[in-house]
C-alpha cells in the first residue's frame, strides 16, 4: 500500500519547487514551465486525497479525478495563451527576459 502522507508531501515539495522557479528565474519560458509544475503538484494532491476517500459510506467518489481533468484543460488553455503572449513579447522586445518588461512598473 502506498504511503499517502508521503504523496501529499511530494505534492508540497513539487509545488515549492515551482514557486521558487517562478520567483527566481527570468526566462519567461521557464516561468511558464514552473507554473505547469505547480498545477501538476495540485493534481497530485487531488489524486492522493481521492485515493484516501475513494468511497464515502459505500458510494464510490471520483470527484478528485474530475477536478484533475478540469485542471489539465485549464493548463492547456493557459499554455496556449501564455506562449502567444511570449511570442508577441519576443517580437516587440527581441528577448524573453521578464525584467525587461517593466512598462507598468513605477
Amino acid at each position: 500500500m502506498l504511503p499517502l502522507d508521503h504523496v501529499i508531501g511530494l505534492s508540497a515539495i513539487l509545488f515549492t519547487i515551482g514557486v521558487l522557479g517562478v520567483a527566481t528565474r527570468r526566462n519567461l519560458i521557464v516561468i511558464l514551465m514552473s507554473i505547469e509544475l505547480m498545477l501538476n503538484a495540485a493534481n497530485l494532491a487531488f489524486v492522493g486525497f481521492n485515493r484516501i476517500w475513494s468511497q464515502v459510506e459505500g458510494v464510490p467518489a471520483i470527484d478528485g479525478h474530475v477536478f484533475v481533468l478540469m485542471v489539465i484543460a485549464v493548463a492547456a488553455a493557459e499554455v496556449a495563451v501564455g506562449l502567444g503572449i511570449l511570442l508577441s513579447m519576443f517580437r516587440n522586445r527581441d528577448s524573453v527576459n521578464v525584467e525587461e518588461v517593466n512598462l507598468l512598473k513605477w
Binding site: M1, L2, P3, L4, D5, H6, V7, I8, G9, A12, I13, L14, T16, I17, V19, L20, G21, A23, T24, R26, N27, I29, V30, M33, S34, E36, L37, N40, N43, L44, V47, R51, W53, S54, Q55, P60, I62, D63, H65, V66, V68, L69, M70, I72, A73, V74, A75, A76, A77, E78, A80, V81, L83, G84, L87, S88, R91, V96, N97, E99
Partner: protein, 170 residues
C-alpha cells in the same frame, strides 16, 4: 515495504530531481523542457500506483505529448538555445522569496509528520475505480455544467492564441 511503495519512492525522487533540474538549469532551455517531460511521466506513473488509470493516461498524453511539445516548438521558433541574461537587480527580494518558500514547505512537512489526519491504510478501492466508465458518468451527470464551461474556456483560449499570434490585426 511493498513493491508499490518502492516504486512510489523511485518515481517520486525522479520527479523531484527532474523538477529541480528544470528550475536550476540556467544554460539550456531545451534541457529544461526535457526535464519537465521526465517529471510529467513520473507523475503519470504515480497516478497509476494511486489507481487513477484514466488520469494517468491523460496526464502522459496531454502533458508529455502536447504541452511540452508546444514549449519545445516555441523554443525552436525563437531560436533560444542558450539563456544568458545579465545578472538581475532584485537579489534581496528573490532571496526573501526563497527563504519564505522553503520555510512554508518545512512547516507543511512537519505538520504532515505530526498530525495523523491522513488515513495511513486506506480501504480498497471500489470496483472500476478511476476507469473511464465511472469518470465519464460523473463528468456527464454531476459535472456537466463544468464540462460546458471548460469547452467555452478552450474556445476562448483558441481565439485568444490566434489573435496573439497574428502579426497584424486588420
Amino acid at each position: 515495504m511493498t513493491v508499490e511503495a518502492i516504486l512510489f519512492y523511485v518515481f517520486g525522487i525522479l520527479a523531484v530531481v527532474s523538477a529541480l533540474g528544470m528550475v536550476l538549469n540556467i544554460r539550456n532551455t531545451v534541457a529544461s523542457a526535457m526535464s519537465l517531460v521526465v517529471t510529467m511521466v513520473s507523475l503519470g506513473a504515480i497516478y497509476l500506483l494511486l489507481e487513477a488509470y484514466l488520469v494517468a493516461v491523460i496526464q502522459i498524453m496531454v502533458y508529455g505529448g502536447a504541452i511540452v511539445v508546444l514549449f519545445l516548438f516555441v523554443v525552436m521558433l525563437l531560436n533560444l538555445s542558450t539563456d544568458e541574461f545579465p545578472p538581475g537587480k532584485q537579489r534581496v527580494a528573490k532571496l526573501a522569496v526563497v527563504i519564505v518558500g522553503v520555510a512554508i514547505l518545512a512547516q507543511v512537512l512537519v505538520a504532515l509528520g505530526q498530525a495523523p489526519l491522513l488515513v495511513a491504510q486506506p480501504e480498497a478501492v471500489p470496483e472500476g475505480f478511476g476507469g473511464y466508465r465511472q469518470l465519464g458518468l460523473s463528468l456527464y451527470t454531476d459535472y456537466v455544467l463544468l464540462v460546458e464551461m471548460v469547452s467555452l474556456l478552450l474556445l476562448a483560449a483558441i481565439v485568444g492564441a490566434l489573435i496573439l499570434a497574428k502579426r497584424k490585426i486588420d
